[in-house]
Symmetry: C2
């Protein structure tokens, strides 16, 4: 397969992005190809041992770049030759099967959606993030693509994230939870209540009902569905709590004997590694016509390498075909006019 | 002041609730009174050394009880003599200045709001929870009273939580953040965008703009405002992440030498204590006409004691008078017809 990578996107681009692509080469299949998109001269200068990578890595020039803080839609309009837009266009034109970027998340969502279009039957794409927990990986969708969700969007996120959980993460029958503020059916806002009816009506979903925030980490579900506003808060809050707690432990240990602090360090490192979501290599944008992976802005080469592997898995598992087939055959039919809140 | 306590509310009622009231006695002022509300016989049997507490603690009989899982509105209608309803009624009838309950949160919100009514100028009450962080306490409002917030509600939560932060927690000029999904003004849903305009227009608020989930723990604000759905997810997610991380550390330490694990235990205990929100003794329901404190269902005697102290502080600081005065004088005027989304 051909994987287009936005070489200019992210806080550590292009160095770490290019390094990640290079690291991935040895794990690729013979017919896999990597296309680095961005300033040709800059990228060319950074690819080492060019003769060795000649057959695997190619460069597509993109003269413009969208900064991390630019307004997504507006910047895409102003910079049609940005690396994000050009990379997405490669998928649109059948010159690549996948696109990966660690750039401006909003611009990625907008570019991928505009260029690649939605999958047949999908109303709105959603970003899925995998949370590593003690009880296994939990896939949360959406974490920021769609902040004004209708019930049909949440239902489709369940279908797509479930397919990802099953065919990419290998969970046989993913349990799907709907993030709300109480387990009882009576709880939640109107969108949550209507979504629950859609989920219940689809007997193929292993639906465990409403789940509360704390339950994401308690092994009660493999997939958690929510709107992009709530999901984004969940994602960033989790980051914040973990950082805060690790800092507190460090601070507390510093008050102790230095020897104890030193002994505890490898334990903390192991935990960091075990629950490091970089292992999952970025977040797929589910529901677009192609494989699209969005990485954290702070991604290092390892994350980019893992994102390339994740893109391969996603493509090989035929997630998109499965979603289209599922939605076409779904017993839950929700024409647009029934889905307005 | 007179403090009505729902003796039957919570997972550990009435034992721990009554024990908490007893523990508080020595810290009360000479004219403070505690009124335990619930099954008279049961409470009477549990108050030790009755002669000693005769002047401080009295009992008001309430023959009914609302369970933790009952539907709030429906159960209040069916059980007008429940301990929650009777305790709230004492404040309504000027027989108490404050009410405290560790019972069904939804029923508490509904009962306090129905019996005590809203403060003049307040459209909807909100629950405020104090998060202890390394950078000091952060007050978050709302965490579950109002899941369909309008901009005016969020604006008023800012005013009320700010007053609480200043006059109860002693923060001189509380920095107020609006929880959203990006710091830029363009980010957030429609309610967030309109709320931001209201906040900006009020020059008396030390408004720091949008904050992201992770920033709650990074010392950028003293007050964080959000709707009750998001706030409840935040509250429970934080609980979940902390539990998960502590379990992971414990698990990891168990793989190590037992001696190291034992040495680390007191460090963890200290962190638990330092960041234990039970220290703040429950969450005030801001915006009702009286002092109302809602405690976690799992509250032990210490939390109840702290809630009594919090109720005293809240009352003495005249939070409600201050809020009414502030809103009456506020330059931001938002008649109801301007506040619909």
């Amino acid at each position: 397969m051909r994987i287009a990578i936005d070489a200019m996107g992210g806080d550590n681009a292009p160095d770490e992005v290019i390094a990640g692509a290079i690291e991935a080469v040895d794990s690729l299949a013979p017919d896999d190809r990597i296309i680095l998109v961005g300033l040709e001269d800059v990228i060319h200068a950074q690819v080492p041992d060019k003769a060795r990578y000649r057959d695997v890595i190619s460069i597509v020039h993109a003269p413009e770049n969208i900064g991390m803080d630019e307004t997504p839609i507006e910047s895409l309009r102003r910079k049609p030759k940005s690396s994000i837009a050009v990379a997405a266009k490669l998928v649109k034109r059948d010159q690549a099967e996948a696109v990966i970027s660690a750039g401006n998340t909003g611009a990625c969502v907008a570019a991928f959606q505009m260029r690649m279009r939605n999958l047949e039957g999908v109303n709105r794409p959603g970003i899925a993030v995998v949370f590593p927990t003690m009880h296994g990986p939990v896939t949360i969708c959406d974490v920021g693509a769609n902040i004004a969700c209708k019930p049909i969007n949440l239902y489709q996120y369940a279908i797509m994230a479930r397919s990802y959980s099953k065919h990419v993460l290998g969970i046989e029958s993913p349990r799907v939870g709907l993030l709300s503020i109480g387990q009882e059916d009576a709880k939640g806002n109107e969108v949550v209540k209507k979504t629950r009816e859609l989920m219940r009506a689809d007997k193929k979903i292993n639906f465990v009902g409403n789940i509360e925030g704390r339950e994401i980490f308690r092994g009660v579900c493999d997939v958690a569905v929510c709107d992009g506003f709530v999901g984004n808060v969940v994602l960033k809050l989790t980051e914040g709590v973990v950082d805060c707690l690790f800092s507190a432990i460090k601070h507390e240990l510093m008050q102790e004997k230095l020897r104890l602090a030193m002994k505890f360090k490898p334990v903390m490192m192991r935990i960091y590694q075990k629950y490091d979501y970089n292992e999952y290599g970025g977040a797929p944008l589910l529901g677009v016509n192609g494989t699209a992976i969005i990485c954290h802005g702070s991604s290092k080469s390892r994350t980019i390498k893992n994102a390339i592997m994740a893109a391969k898995k996603f493509h090989i598992a035929r997630i998109n075909d499965r979603v289209v087939e599922y939605l076409a055959a779904a017993s839950v039919r929700t024409p647009d006019d029934q889905t307005s809140q």
